[in-house]
Symmetry: C2
Subunit: 551 residues, 2 copies
Amino acid sequence: MKKSALQIARAAYHPQLPIVLTGGVKMKEGEPTQSAGDQEEIKKLFPNTYGLPEIIFEKTSATGSAKPVNVGVILSGGQAPGGHNVISGLFDGIKHLHKDSKLYGFLMGPGGLVDHQYKELTADIIDEYRNTGGFDIIGSGRTKLETKEQFDKGLEILRELDITALVIIGGDDSNTNAAILAEYYKAIGAGVQVIGVPKTIDGDLKNNVIETSFGFDTATKVYSEVIGNIQRDCNSSKKYWHFIKLMGRSASHIALECALQCQPNVCIISEEVEAKDMTLEEVVDYIADAVVARSEQGLNYGVVLIPEGLIEFIPAVKKLIAELNDLLAAKASEFAEIASEDQRDWVISNLTPDCAATYQSLPAGVARQLTLDRDPHGNVQVSLIETEKLLSEMVGKRLEVLAAEGKYEGKYSTMHHFFGYEGRCADPSNFDANYCYGLGYTAACLIASGVTGYMSSLRNLTFAPVNWVAGGIPITMMMNMERRNGHVKPVIRKALVELDGAPFLKFAKQRDEWKVGTCYTYPGPIQYFGPAEICDQPSLTLVYEQKRRKY
Amino acid sequence: MKKSALQIARAAYHPQLPIVLTGGVKMKEGEPTQSAGDQEEIKKLFPNTYGLPEIIFEKTSATGSAKPVNVGVILSGGQAPGGHNVISGLFDGIKHLHKDSKLYGFLMGPGGLVDHQYKELTADIIDEYRNTGGFDIIGSGRTKLETKEQFDKGLEILRELDITALVIIGGDDSNTNAAILAEYYKAIGAGVQVIGVPKTIDGDLKNNVIETSFGFDTATKVYSEVIGNIQRDCNSSKKYWHFIKLMGRSASHIALECALQCQPNVCIISEEVEAKDMTLEEVVDYIADAVVARSEQGLNYGVVLIPEGLIEFIPAVKKLIAELNDLLAAKASEFAEIASEDQRDWVISNLTPDCAATYQSLPAGVARQLTLDRDPHGNVQVSLIETEKLLSEMVGKRLEVLAAEGKYEGKYSTMHHFFGYEGRCADPSNFDANYCYGLGYTAACLIASGVTGYMSSLRNLTFAPVNWVAGGIPITMMMNMERRNGHVKPVIRKALVELDGAPFLKFAKQRDEWKVGTCYTYPGPIQYFGPAEICDQPSLTLVYEQKRRKY
């Protein structure tokens, strides 16, 4: 592998550890905890790992461990910048405990545990991946660890390798499953601790004890860089409206952070659309209003940010999709007989009036996509819908109507972008490099402390890393019961954008000005070597959220 | 405007000037020059500006000018990183000549000269834009300065503002027109010098006297950053083939530079496709071969780079497009009568057998696009064709055939990207910041020297900026006669990728290894503040080209 100059330089970067982790640590336990909701049910499901205390580490002179520990690590789900640093922090942490400790990586996600695919991560391998993006050190995968069979199969290889602790780096689902696995291994006396690490660029794994998930910082900075560049482009040529879709299906944190960083003309927040029960037409009207308002000032250009999951947050569209799923499942053979040119009418006549109206409002291409492209379960494949094109086309139609009414005289040309894969494997920002390394190192401390069912935790993140507070949070503390795929399950509550939260309120206060004025900010590329105000700033979401939170 | 931390820090950056420009300069003239081709015809068309000598500036103790000079500046065509630095270098240069010199910017491109739209660029304005991306200081536009009426109209405002020199920052077309304008103003004794500056991210404005155009360095670094990130992503999840289209319609320099930086599995070079007279099927087979070869090693993922202009370089497709343009123009009314479901058959029956076969080989959507979407002149809109999707779909079809023959057993899932607008307005790299500032400053020196019809020039660009050689190149020296839009015209010869040039040969030597192996390099984001080997490296294209060139 030919390394770039930046790869070589970053390999030498020493992540900053919280001062408390720079020597020996001792564990300080807080009060017993409760789950976020449904306490009785969660308690019943997790008899061995419920109600554990929060843990904070404090400095002590004692250091190291009498005997080595063998640890397994798994990267679960979509990539996020910094995963390699979690692993290198974990490696350094267990080596600090005892020089003969060993780290095994299970390959291609949780499936590697079940299928016994692994490799030992030696110092040479670890050094190749320090401070780099990607999950390529051991790969990642989306297999869900959910069944007793998987747990037992995993235990075979854990025993074979004498692994007594497993670190699962993943999002809310993977950490939920880590808690279930911890409970199971504890219940059967397997002698394997399970520790989770909060990962996801989407930023939806956070709560009053987890300040942020890793990767969000870097990914949003990469997206903000290219959004800023596009803003500067459209402010130079002054002839295009750019519709930019951003990754994040379940929550709009990414779009919101990018909006705070870049100050585009329009940013749609899915959670607000849902809360206000907006129709697709209302979203379209909102954007068209911005286009009209700017055109009245001679500004026939702009930038619109759209969260990837928007379409599923629009109540009417959500209802339409559900009804289409039912209809096409129930009348699959009848539908298959309909000639393609008659399908549209057939669908309309078989839907309830509300849904039929929503269906008719969609551009023909999207409507066709909703009935034709279905996943193996027969469901509409929402992720295939190019929401950015859908909206720009519908805005164009709306503008035609307004023009015919004499209410719009501007020009309207559009460009489309989708940013997601560009940011998931970027080299971690200094923030994520430090945060991840610290999370991995803290996981090693949790292992040394003998606990299980905990998530590695660093807090006080808007301060310099030396001041960060390291500890562990019982995963059950973040859980409640929710309906997922037709079953009520214990899950970690997903953090959506709070409409009364500081980041959204900051945005809401300024967006009218951004809409008509041209208030673009250009963040530029992530910097690693310059002054702290450029290189070491956390996301604005974190800064605004933490300002009002006492720790 | 709220500035980002990076914007604020970069505003304070002092571009490095060649040592020769740091005091007074004197002009050293070389031998009279000849045009690149068609010397007799070019000489006849440019009687007043043909055969001028190359100019090199040398240091002298004398400095400044007896009287102030008023200069006009125009940004022409697509944006390129560094345009603002050309303007700030020009501003500082003419202020160095005399503190009362004035700089006027014509707004929204060459049209601003003709329509008398301008603003004076004062020190306050200039300081706001130093080292920033974009052309937003005065905007850009694509009006072509070609006619006597435009020249005369422009002269009115130049006289009104007492402007005696005009700097045109643009690509090959704009510099061709700058030469024509210089010749015209000289011929009529207008007393206005015209100086060109070589701009284009496409990298196709270069020759044996112009080493590179500005913006290419930064834009390719932005694209390489995100391509690298995508490579790391696909190397982590190991499940997608990413088809990435890159800006650059006329030449493949951008794709080639990104390939040299990132080492993707496949990169198509349009110039090679044309030289080898490859069919679309052969291009598809070439990519499919890579997919099959990798799948045989269990690698069902990869990255393919595609230059935006590819489709027009495939001789058979080029011929088809030309024939379709003629056919649909000649039989427009007949075609309009054909029912949409019969159009395909009608088109096939009206094409020559070769073109009909090419047409039939295209996916239905692309074929429809070729007949339906036409520009105001009735021509097929090639730029609307999503070449990245066209190729990935055709590769998929090819793989189905191979699978049926038992020659392919892999999985094939695809993702598509197009990078262009993301890079055109990025903050200029240190290289482009220095190069552009120097080009602008050199333009001021050319103005002080009283010459016209020259392009501002800096050479020795792979050395540190202090060692760069500053001077001027007669624009006619780069010209030859070519057929463009049906007319034979004097134009600057466009630089395509040379298949016997060092950059392509470097690529060609390694590509077989990159195809099957996974040899990805991850350049990461542009850095401004770190060690020189990260922050100050010119493009590999420039490095490889200059290695074999003596200066």
